[in-house]
């Protein structure tokens, strides 16, 4: 139903579209430039456009054959998926009971949990707990310390509350206990929220660099973001380049190739992430 547009309206549409294109350019140029620098051959200075026939994949070749990178990738995978498994299990097992209206003490427990969301004892007291538990320099420090997010727990609880109670009652009449109701009735209905919350946890784990730095001391345990940080700050570029001085790629190309390589897995799952995250944000915003 396109109506004839006045000149003012046409100007309006132009301005809006120009703004959107500007947003697109500002978002993309830095990423594009990173890719260009990563393909930089020796003796060239970086620019926004390097013609394809000058591209050098040396930097990628250097990185891909570094065992350090592969070990870090494996570490990242363990931390990401192990973390999601632990976090989802704990979150579901806490959110479901707290979504039952008849549970005595429910409000008190929710209050207890909410309080930890509002008041944080701080970094050092938490560090001491991990230290006293003997978890320093083990993955358990990271996997357990960040296991449950209050926000995710409350979103999940709200979702469980919104499920029709009649289904559960029917299962209960058939003699199902709470675990069976959760497993056979509630969880199959909760696929979207499980995916959303699982992705929330997964992305946070994949990007996590601070807790590994805080809790781990063994370099061989470090995940990808920490290794990338080392490469970027030039702490030990030599470690990632065979032969040290005899580099086959400019240092900046090496750094940016590392950025690209480590962003790649995120880009591959991004279509799913985007779909479920946007849903998750909206679920979260209409809670209560």
């Amino acid at each position: 139903m396109k109506k004839a547009m006045s000149r003012g309206d046409r100007l309006f549409e132009w301005t809006i579209d120009a703004f959107l294109v500007a947003v697109l350019v500002v978002t993309l140029i830095p990423m594009w430039y990173v890719v260009m620098v990563s393909l930089l051959p020796f003796g060239k200075s970086p620019s926004l456009f390097i013609p394809p026939w000058e591209w050098s994949f040396e930097a990628y070749a250097q990185l891909v054959f570094q065992p350090t990178i592969w070990r870090a990738a494996l570490n990242s995978i363990v931390l990401t998926f192990g973390g999601v498994a632990i976090s989802l299990t704990l979150t579901v097992m806490a959110a479901y009971p707290l979504s039952r209206r008849g549970l005595p003490g429910r409000n008190f427990i929710v209050g207890l949990i909410l309080f930890t969301f509002l008041f944080n004892a701080g970094l050092i007291p938490t560090f001491l707990v991990v230290k006293d538990l003997g978890l320093l320099n083990t993955y358990w420090s990271i996997l357990l310390n960040g296991a449950v997010s209050v926000y995710n727990l409350l979103v999940m609880k709200t979702f469980f509350q919104s499920l029709p109670e009649s289904l559960e009652e029917a299962a209960r009449i058939d003699g199902a206990n709470d675990w069976q109701v959760l497993w056979h009735v509630v969880l199959p209905l909760s696929r979207p929220i499980l995916l959303t919350i699982g992705l929330f946890y997964g992305v946070a784990n994949w990007n996590n660099f601070f807790e590994p730095i805080l809790f781990l001391s063994d370099r061989s345990l470090m995940p990808l973001p920490v290794v990338l940080r080392d490469i970027l700050t030039g702490l030990n570029v030599a470690e990632y380049v065979e032969g040290g001085a005899a580099q086959a790629a400019p240092a900046e190309a090496l750094k940016m190739a590392a950025v690209v390589l480590i962003t790649l897995p995120m880009l591959l799952v991004y279509p799913w992430i985007q779909r479920y995250f946007t849903k998750g944000v909206l679920i979260g915003s209409v809670k209560e």
């Binding site: 830095p30 990423m31 005595p104 930890t116 938490t126 296991a147 709470d178 946007t278």
Partner: protein, 313 residues
């Protein structure tokens, strides 16, 4: 008027005990999560008492001697107290003031454009940076800002200006922190505003158009008021957490030359506590931040309930 006796306390207790027993499976299910909160969230609260002690790792939390408010006094009396507070507030406020308008603009533009494809592609790509680790964004910033090969410095050189070491100069570090946050989060923050716009009844726009309102006027009188509640909520939430200026971001981006402008409460606590082993002093500062933060978020929530009718939590 019935003469039913008031339920005896012990009968009520009995009924409660019965109900608790009935729900025993659910409590069992709740146990691991509860254990998590007690161990990793309440135990630290107990440990926080070392703010009032002189903590020695060999003596433990309970065995270290009490020193009262000594660490707090040391912190409040030091030169870095005002510096940390100012840096934290300036960076936080900068992010609020420069972050929200672009998000609103983007939401309005996405809502108004008649080009579906453009809208889809802008949404998809502008959300992307939100999912990138700050370490990756640091890499992107190096590519843009480094004095030797940075794109922006290449531009400066091309027009005959001196290159600027953006990440290591005290004059530019705070703007870099604020603007990189805006670059990373604008698309994502626009989602909430866009949702508010989509919930506006389209009949309002049609009626306005029939009455001769231009598109600009429709934005002013329909779209902007329609986003007011969300805006108030977002601003209050951000003001409530104003002491969180972005620890992970600054942790990655800052370096010794810019400590004077980049150091915020959280980064200072990390350095003093973890790197310099000043456990008690760092805990005191963290506790100070936590308490102010608690007051701010509770007040923000009250205000939100009062003015928007819905709280933050």
């Amino acid at each position: 008027m019935s003469f039913a006796p008031a339920p005896q306390p012990n009968r009520r207790l009995k009924r409660l005990a019965q109900s608790v027993w009935q729900h025993r499976m659910l409590y069992l299910m709740l146990l691991p999560g509860l254990a998590y909160f007690i161990i990793f969230r309440y135990w630290p609260l107990w440990n926080a008492q070392i703010a009032f002690r002189d903590f020695q790792p060999t003596l433990g939390v309970w065995g270290s001697p009490w020193v009262g408010f000594q660490h707090f006094q040391e912190f409040f009396g030091s030169y870095y107290f005002s510096q940390l507070l100012v840096n934290t507030l300036v960076i936080s406020l900068g992010k609020i003031v420069l972050g929200i308008p672009p998000a609103i603009l983007l939401a309005v533009a996405l809502h108004e454009t008649s080009r579906r494809f453009l809208s889809r592609i802008v949404q998809t790509l502008s959300y992307l940076p939100h999912f990138l680790s700050w370490v990756i964004v640091y890499g992107i910033l190096l590519a843009m800002l480094s004095p030797s090969e940075g794109l922006i410095n290449a531009g400066l050189r091309a027009i005959g200006l001196e290159p600027v070491p953006f990440l290591t100069s005290t004059a530019t570090f705070q703007p870099v922190v604020v603007l990189s946050e805006v670059w990373k989060e604008t698309g994502w923050s626009a989602i909430l505003f866009l949702a508010a716009l989509l919930s506006i009844n389209p009949a309002l726009y049609e009626a306005a158009a029939i009455d001769g309102a231009s598109r600009w006027q429709q934005i002013r009188h329909i779209s902007l008021p329609g986003m007011m509640d969300v805006l108030v909520l977002v601003v209050l939430l951000k003001l409530g957490s104003i002491l969180d200026a972005g620890f992970h971001q600054i942790f990655v981006l800052y370096s010794l030359p810019v400590y004077s402008v980049g150091d915020i409460i959280d980064t200072w606590v990390y350095r003093q506590g973890i790197q310099n082993f000043q456990f008690s002093l760092a805990t005191a500062v963290g506790l100070f931040k936590g308490l102010i933060g608690l007051v701010l978020i509770v007040v923000a929530n009250r205000l939100a309930r009062r003015f928007v009718g819905t709280g933050l939590y």
